[in-house]
Symmetry: C2
Subunit: 603 residues, 2 copies
C-alpha cells in the first residue's frame, strides 16, 4: 500500500466536502448489510485509510482525518496508517461522537452514507445533532464511490445453493409458517429482512459471497400471508432453486436489488404495518417508511434471530458430526506439532497447517473466520492475525494459542486450544489451570430456565477473579448452523439478558492474557440441553460439542477439585472415544496418551 495513494484519496474527499460545504464525512467499516464481514468491493474504510481491521470508523474533516478504533486495533491502525496524517484514536477513550460533541462549535454539517449506518445509529446522530445544534447530512452517494473506480472488485455474485433438509432439519415452508405466526402475534403486515444470514436460514439457501460465511448478500420482505419478495440479480438463481422456491413458498417475487427502496415505499404508502429491526437495518430503508406521513413502522428485534438460534435436532446432530471432523483435524494438527522438529516452525506455518487439515474434511466449505495463530507474546493479543511482519518463530519454552473454525455443510465450528511448546513454567501452569477452572465452571453449570448469559458470565469469571486474573472479552457467543460464527441473540457476558433456551449453541471461551508474555484461551462450543431432574423442573445444562484434547501438560492438578478433575478426565476421554476410531497407528497411540486420566488418590 502506497501511502501517497491514501493521502490523495483523503484529499479528494476533502475537496468533495469543501465543494458541498460540509465539515466532515463519516465512513464506518461496515457495508450496507451491517454484518461482521465485508467483501472487498465494499471495504471502503480500508481503501480510504489503509486500515484493514474488522471494526472502526474514520471521520474525514476538511483539513484532517481521524480513525477511531477499539483496543484490539490501536497498534495495527497506527502501523497501517503510517505517513498518511491520519490520526488514530482509541474509541473507548474518545468515540467519534465524543469528538463531534467536543468540536460542535466548528463542526456544523457532518455527512454520512445512509446505507452504512443502522436506524438506531442515525437516530443517535440526530439526537446529538439536536443537542449541539449541528446537522447530520444523509448523502445521496458515498463520495468514496465517486473516486474508487479502479481496482475495485465487483460485488459478490455467487450462485444460490439449496441447504438440503438433511442439514437444515426444518423445511422452508414450515419456517415461513412459524415466522408468519410470529408476525401475526406482533400485529404487523410485513417484515423487511435485511440480514443475509436470516434469509439463508429462512429459505434454506447458502452461497459464497463472503470469505468465511456461506451466505448470499441479499434482502427480502415477507408478508404475513407468506408471500415473499427477494431482492437479488435473478441470474444467480438456477432453475432447480426456482422450482424449489415455487414448491416451498406460496408466492415469491424476485426483484433486482435496486428495487428494494421503491417496493418499501409502496408498502409504506399503503399504510402497511411494517416491522424492522432498528439495530440491523440501514437507515436508508427505514427512511423510506419514515418519510411517509402516518406510517406504520414497528421497531423490534429481528424475529428470525431467536428462531435461528434455537437449533433443531437435525442441526444439533449435524453440529456433532462437524465437531467430530474438526476434532480429527485438530488432533492431526496437535500430533503434527508434537512431532515437528522443523526449525522453521512459525505461526504462519502452523496457521496454514490447521487450515489445510480442516479443508481435507468432507463437506468442508471454508474457515469460519481467519485463524488466530499466536505464539508467546503474540498469543496475548486477543484478536491477533499473523502477518509476514509479525510471524514469530515457534521455539523455546512458551505457550501457543490457536483459535480456528470451519464451515461444514453440517455446521459451524469455533475452537481454541492453548498448548505448551517446550517446558511450561509454574506460573504458566497456574494460569492455564485457573482458566480451565473457569471453563469447567461454565461447562458443568446447572441452571433453571430463565437464566441469562449475564449471570453465567459471573459464574465463569469467578475462579479468575479469586486469583486476580480476568479477560477483556465476552465468555461466550452464539454460533450459527453453517452460518455466521458469531450469532445472536444470546451471549454469555455481562449485560446479556436473553433467556437461554434448550437448543442454543454457545462458545465457552474464558482466557487470560499476560502482556508481552503469552495468552491462554480454552474454547469449546456447547449446546444447551434439558436436564431430567426429579425435584427441580425446567433445569438446563450444557453439553460440550468440541472434541479436541485439552493439554494436560499445562494442568496443575493440585488446583483442581475432585469434580473438576473428573470433568477434565471425562472430557479428554470422550475426545479419545469419539476421535480415535478415525485414527490409526502412532497418532492413535499419541491421542490415548494425551487423553489419559489423572488418577485421584482419595484422602
Amino acid at each position: 500500500m502506497n501511502n501517497i495513494d491514501i493521502i490523495n484519496r483523503i484529499k479528494s474527499i476533502q475537496s468533495f466536502l469543501k465543494e458541498k460545504k460540509l465539515d466532515g464525512f463519516i465512513q464506518p467499516r461496515s457495508d450496507s448489510y451491517l454484518g461482521e464481514y465485508v467483501p472487498q468491493s465494499d471495504s471502503r474504510l480500508e481503501w480510504i485509510s489503509g486500515f484493514s481491521g474488522s471494526a472502526g470508523e474514520i471521520l474525514i474533516l476538511c483539513k484532517s482525518a481521524i480513525l477511531f478504533v477499539d483496543s484490539r486495533y490501536t497498534i495495527q491502525a497506527v502501523n497501517e496508517t503510517k505517513n498518511t496524517n491520519i490520526k488514530v484514536v482509541l474509541s473507548s477513550e474518545k468515540s467519534l461522537v465524543d469528538y463531534i460533541e467536543n468540536n460542535s462549535n466548528i463542526l456544523k454539517n457532518i455527512a454520512f452514507d445512509p446505507w452504512l449506518h443502522s436506524l438506531s445509529m442515525v437516530k443517535y446522530f440526530l439526537y446529538i445533532g439536536s443537542k449541539y445544534n449541528l446537522k447530520f447530512v444523509s448523502l445521496k452517494q458515498n463520495p468514496i464511490d465517486l473516486i474508487w473506480v479502479t481496482n475495485r472488485d465487483d460485488a459478490p455474485k455467487s450462485e444460490i445453493k439449496k441447504h438440503i433438509a438433511k442439514y437444515a432439519g426444518i423445511s422452508t415452508s414450515e419456517k415461513i409458517q412459524n415466522l408468519c405466526l410470529r408476525l401475526k402475534s406482533l400485529s404487523v403486515d410485513s417484515y423487511i429482512i435485511t440480514q443475509p444470514d436470516a434469509i439463508a436460514w429462512l429459505l434454506n439457501i447458502r452461497g459464497a459471497d463472503l470469505k468465511h460465511t456461506p451466505i448470499i448478500l441479499t434482502r427480502a420482505i415477507i408478508f404475513k400471508n407468506k408471500n415473499i419478495c427477494l431482492f437479488i440479480d435473478e441470474s444467480r438463481i438456477n432453475s432447480e432453486i426456482k422450482n424449489y422456491f415455487k414448491k416451498e413458498i406460496t408466492n415469491i417475487k424476485i426483484y433486482p436489488e435496486n428495487k428494494l427502496l421503491n417496493v418499501i415505499n409502496n408498502i409504506a404508502k399503503n399504510k402497511n404495518k411494517i416491522l424492522i429491526d432498528p439495530s440491523t437495518t440501514s437507515y436508508v430503508f427505514a427512511n423510506e417508511i419514515l418519510k411517509e406521513k402516518n406510517n406504520n413502522i414497528v421497531e423490534q428485534d429481528c424475529p428470525i434471530e431467536l428462531m435461528k438460534a434455537i437449533k433443531n435436532k437435525v442441526e444439533i446432530r449435524g453440529s456433532i458430526i462437524a465437531h467430530k471432523k474438526d476434532g480429527i483435524a485438530l488432533s492431526k494438527f496437535l500430533y503434527w506439532i508434537y512431532n515437528s522438529k522443523n526449525t522453521n516452525n512459525s505461526e504462519m506455518l502452523f496457521s496454514n497447517k490447521i487450515d489445510q487439515l480442516r479443508s481435507q474434511q468432507k463437506n468442508f466449505i471454508c474457515t469460519s473466520f481467519e485463524t488466530i495463530s499466536g505464539y508467546a507474546s503474540n498469543g496475548a493479543i486477543v484478536h491477533y492475525r499473523v502477518t509476514n511482519q509479525s510471524n514469530k518463530k515457534i521455539k523455546g519454552n512458551s505457550l501457543y494459542l490457536c483459535d480456528s473454525g470451519g464451515q461444514y455443510l453440517e455446521g459451524t465450528t469455533d475452537v481454541t486450544r492453548t498448548i505448551v511448546i517446550g517446558k511450561p513454567s509454574v506460573l504458566m501452569k497456574k494460569h492455564f489451570t485457573i482458566v480451565l477452572k473457569a471453563h469447567i465452571a461454565l461447562a458443568s453449570a446447572v441452571f433453571p430456565y430463565g437464566t441469562t448469559g449475564n449471570e453465567l458470565d459471573l459464574l465463569t469469571r469467578s475462579p479468575l477473579w479469586k486469583n486476580d486474573m480476568n479477560y477483556g472479552h465476552g465468555t461466550g457467543h452464539g454460533v450459527g448452523s453453517c452460518l455466521n460464527v458469531h450469532e445472536g441473540p444470546h451471549r454469555i457476558s455481562k449485560g446479556s439478558l436473553t433467556i437461554l433456551e434448550p437448543g442454543m449453541v454457545t462458545s465457552n471461551e474464558p482466557g487470560f492474557y499476560l502482556e508481552n508474555k503469552y495468552g491462554i484461551r480454552i474454547e469449546n462450543l456447547m449446546v444447551i440441553t434439558k436436564l431430567n431432574h426429579k425435584n427441580n423442573k425446567n433445569m438446563l445444562c450444557f453439553k460440550s460439542l468440541t472434541l479436541a484434547p485439552i493439554d494436560i501438560n499445562l494442568i496443575n492438578y493440585k488446583l483442581l477439585t475432585h469434580e473438576e478433575i473428573k470433568w477434565i478426565n471425562d472430557y479428554n476421554n470422550s475426545v479419545y472415544k469419539y476421535i480415535s476410531i478415525y485414527l490409526e497407528g502412532s497418532i492413535k497411540k499419541w491421542l490415548k496418551e494425551v487423553c489419559r486420566p489423572f488418577i485421584i488418590t482419595t484422602h
Copy 2:
C-alpha cells in the same frame, strides 16, 4: 378468637358496602406506613379476618369474603379463619386483582382505604379499572375503623431517643447536608419522607413503636434548603431532643400528625417540585399533590435508602460488636442444648432460651424479629413460628433450625443455625453439606464493582442445583444498623439489579427444606469490602460478621473442596478466637471442640 365475632364484623362491613352502593372493599395487612411490621392498633386485617400472618389481603364482597395469602400462610390462614365463611386463596395462583378482573362483569365499584396502599398499587388499580370498566373508590374513612372501637390499642407513642454519634457514626447535620445535595442533583425542592426507618436514620433518633424495630412511626418533609417539617405529637419529644434538633437542623417545625395532608397540599399549590417514592408512599399523600393541576411531582426511589444501606465505619464497627454479643448468646444457647437432657425440651423452650440469652447482652433492645425455632418437619416450614398447638418436643434424631436476631444499640443481627439432635443420617449430612457449599460460594465470592445480587444469587444456588436441590426464598437481604432487619435497596436474589457497594450489609442464607422431614438454613450476615488486588481494580468481597459455630457434625467433608474445607476451618476458628475470650471453663472447652479444624491429608 371467637369466630362469631369475625362473622359479625364481616357482616358489618357488608352492610356498609350495601349502604354505600359498593361491590367490595379491600383490606391489606399493611398500615399507612406500608412497612413490614404493624402495631396492634393498626392490625385491621387480623381484626377483621382472624388471620395473623405478616402478609395478605382480604376482599370483602356483599355476600362473601376472600382472603389472599402467599404459600407461607395457606395452612395458617385456613386454620385461623375456620368457621367464618372466609375463603382462603393462594395469591400466586389467583391474586386479588386477578379475582377482580375475572369478576369484572359484576364488581363495578371496589372501595379501598387510600392510606393503606402505595401510589404504585393504586395506579395499578386504576389501570385495571380503566381496562375492565370498573371503579376503584378511594374512601374517606376505613369502614373497619367505624366498627373497631373497643379492645383496640392506642397508636404507639414511645418517646424519641437520640441515637448517639458513638453508634450512628455520622451526624444528623451531615446526613441532611448530603441528602439535600442529592435533592438538588434530582432538581427537586422537597421530599416527603414516609418511611419511619429513613427518618430514624436521617435524624439519628430511635424509639419503641414496634415490637422488633426500634423506630418511631412518623413522617417528615425535607426541603432542599435543609428545613424539615416533622409530623408527630410534640409531647413525645423531650427537651433534650428538642435542643438536639435545634443544634443539628437549620430549621425544624413540629406539626401534629394530622397536619401532613394540609402541609403537602400547600407545598403542591406553590408549584414546589416534590419528590415521592411511589412504591413506599401511601396514595393519600401522593393524591394531595396529584389533585393540584400542573403539579410538580417527581416519582423516584427514596434517596435515603441507598445512603442508609451503605454503612459507615462506626456502624460497621458497631455491627462487629453486636455480632460478638450475638455470638456469645448463641454459643451459650448451643452449649445449653448440648448439655440439656430435659425430656421436656421443645421448640418453645428453645425459642425462649435463645431470646433470654440474647436479652442478657449489654445494649440489647429487642429481638429483631420473632424467633423461628423449628424441629424436624417444622424446620421445613420456611416462616414457621411456634405456637402452643404446633410446639414439637425435641427428641430423637433430626435437625433443629433456629433463625433469630437482636436489636442492639450497636447494630442489628440475624442468624440461622441448623444443628443435629441425636445422630444425623447420611442424607441429612449430604443436604447440610451442599447448603454449606452454597453458603461458602457466596461468602468467598470475589466480584467487580457493578455486580448485582441477581448474578450472585446464581453463584450461590449453583451447588444446590447440581444436586437437584433448591430453596424457595431469596439468598440475602440488606440489614439496617439498629433499624429494620430487612432493608433495601439491595438483595441477593434473582432480578435484584441494585449495584452492590462497599459497606452494604447482606445476609447469606441458602437453605434446603425436605417437606415433612427437616429444614436446613445456614445464615450469616456479611459486609461488602474492597479488595486490594494488583491487576483487577475495583474488586469486592464479603467479610462475615456473624460469629457462631457451624455444626461440623453435619458436614460430609468428602463433598467439600480443599478451599471449602479451609473456609469452614477458618470460619469456626474465628468464632473460637473472638468468642472464647468471653467464656470460661467447660463451655470454653466445648467451644474449642466444636470449632476444631478438619485436617486435610494431601493426595
